[in-house]
């Protein structure tokens, strides 16, 4: 395997889970999320020689988000899904509850609100960068983020807390 390929494999293994999860948060659908993450990594690999010495993770994230945004612009509706992935380790019941809460909470938001929330609070990007990646103004990011938070408050959603004891 060429050195560049080995680097890409290492990179993809390290970040594919996070990219897939971000896509899931934005679409609420595991299948669409895996497709989107796969597409982002395909394009990242196609440009690998050009970007490998820069910020390949930022590149992949940007491709992912724009791919999803492009998808939303097409007349395709996506719906939250309840399907739960297999997972080993940890408290499965708690995770199931948290995931359900998460899907419900994010499902109250529009596609753009979800994208802003994920970029800001999952990827922890500054507002200016979120604006660049979504090709909107910083003001739009602020107002969208604020609206999303307000929706969550109005919905009265509260994440399930980890159970300390269970008798």
């Amino acid at each position: 395997m060429a050195r560049g390929d080995a680097e890409f494999v290492e990179f993809a293994r390290a970040c594919s889970g996070r990219l897939t999860h971000a896509a899931f948060l934005m679409t609420g659908n595991h299948h669409h999320a895996e497709d989107a993450a796969q597409t982002a990594l395909v394009r990242t690999y196609a440009s690998w020689s050009r970007i490998r010495n820069g910020d390949p993770y930022g590149y992949a994230r940007s491709v992912l988000v724009n791919h999803l945004v492009d998808t939303w612009r097409r007349p395709i509706r996506e719906y939250p899904s309840d399907d739960l992935p297999e997972r080993s380790g940890g408290d499965l019941a708690e995770e199931v509850a948290t995931r359900r809460w998460l899907v419900t909470a994010l499902g109250t938001l529009t596609a753009r609100e979800r994208a802003v929330v994920v970029l800001r609070h999952y990827f922890d990007l500054p507002e200016a960068q979120v604006a660049r990646e979504l090709d909107v103004s910083v003001g739009t990011v602020k107002s969208t983020s604020s609206r999303a938070l307000e929706k969550l408050r109005t919905a009265g959603l509260s994440a399930p807390r980890p159970q300390e004891t269970c008798r």
Binding site: A12, G17, E34, L41, V63, Y122, S158
Partner: protein
């Protein structure tokens, strides 16, 4: 804990290992890379064809070209934006006068300005191709230099939609890199290109001789010259895709 804190915690708590098929990703990535390279090769071939057809507006000798400075016709100003497919030519000298206004892109190379203008061309095999779009430079004294002539190599130069797109052919950026440019025929109010999942908006200017012809180019700050576009669309003033 605020809602956002809870949301943040939940988003992280539900991360999971994924099962993406890396072999498939790399296979598709290689295919995409090959397609991009093939596209670039086709563009280069198209340019060569244009030369072979004997486009009068272009001399195939490399070297600084000049247009009789004369009256740098009226100058149109630019509006905004978009990108896509291509065909291009190496720097040449054009003895022809611009047809209509010379469009000032606002891009400067020292004292020279990047300009775009139409020139008449005559290709016996292509009777419906009579104009070509030049990416040139205008010196302070009004002299025009032609860097790149772009013209159709089939059909009609007034066919609705996108025509050939010109990409800088240099392998490395130069001081006078040519922005990605071209023209669209139709009521385009916006032209937007996609590259590597990112959208870039083109600058627009209508051609003085035919307002249906919309000259567009991408600011080198937003689209590195020579970067191939993955796609390009035009929208009318109401935002409908053309």
């Amino acid at each position: 804990m605020t809602e956002m804190d809870e949301l943040r915690r939940a988003m992280r708590a539900t991360e999971r290992a994924d099962g993406l098929d890396l072999d498939d990703i790399m296979r598709r990535g290689r295919r995409l890379r090959r397609r991009r390279r093939a596209g670039a090769a086709v563009a280069a071939m198209t340019a060569v064809l244009a030369v072979a057809f004997g486009v009068e507006a272009v001399a195939t000798r490399p070297g600084p070209p000049n247009l009789p400075g004369g009256e740098p016709a009226a100058t149109a100003s630019a509006g905004p934006p978009a990108p896509t497919p291509t065909a291009a030519l190496a720097p040449t000298q054009s003895p022809l006068q611009p047809l209509g206004t010379v469009v000032d892109s606002g891009i400067r190379y020292g004292a020279d300005a990047r300009v775009f203008f139409m020139v008449p061309i005559d290709v016996p095999e292509l009777p419906r191709v009579t104009i070509g779009l030049v990416a040139g430079r205008r010196a302070p004294d009004g002299h025009l230099t032609s860097d790149f002539l772009l013209n159709d190599v089939s059909g009609s130069d007034r066919r609705a939609g996108f025509h050939e797109i010109g990409y800088d052919q240099q392998r490395a950026p130069t001081d006078t890199s040519i922005p990605t440019f071209g023209y669209f025929v139709g009521p385009a109010a916006r032209i937007v290109g996609t590259v590597d999942g990112r959208q870039v908006e083109a600058k627009l200017a209508r051609w003085s001789e035919d307002p249906q012809v919309v000259i567009f180019w991408f600011d080198p700050k937003t689209l590195t010259p020579g970067t191939r576009l993955d796609g390009i669309i035009a929208r009318d003033p109401q935002g409908h895709r053309l």
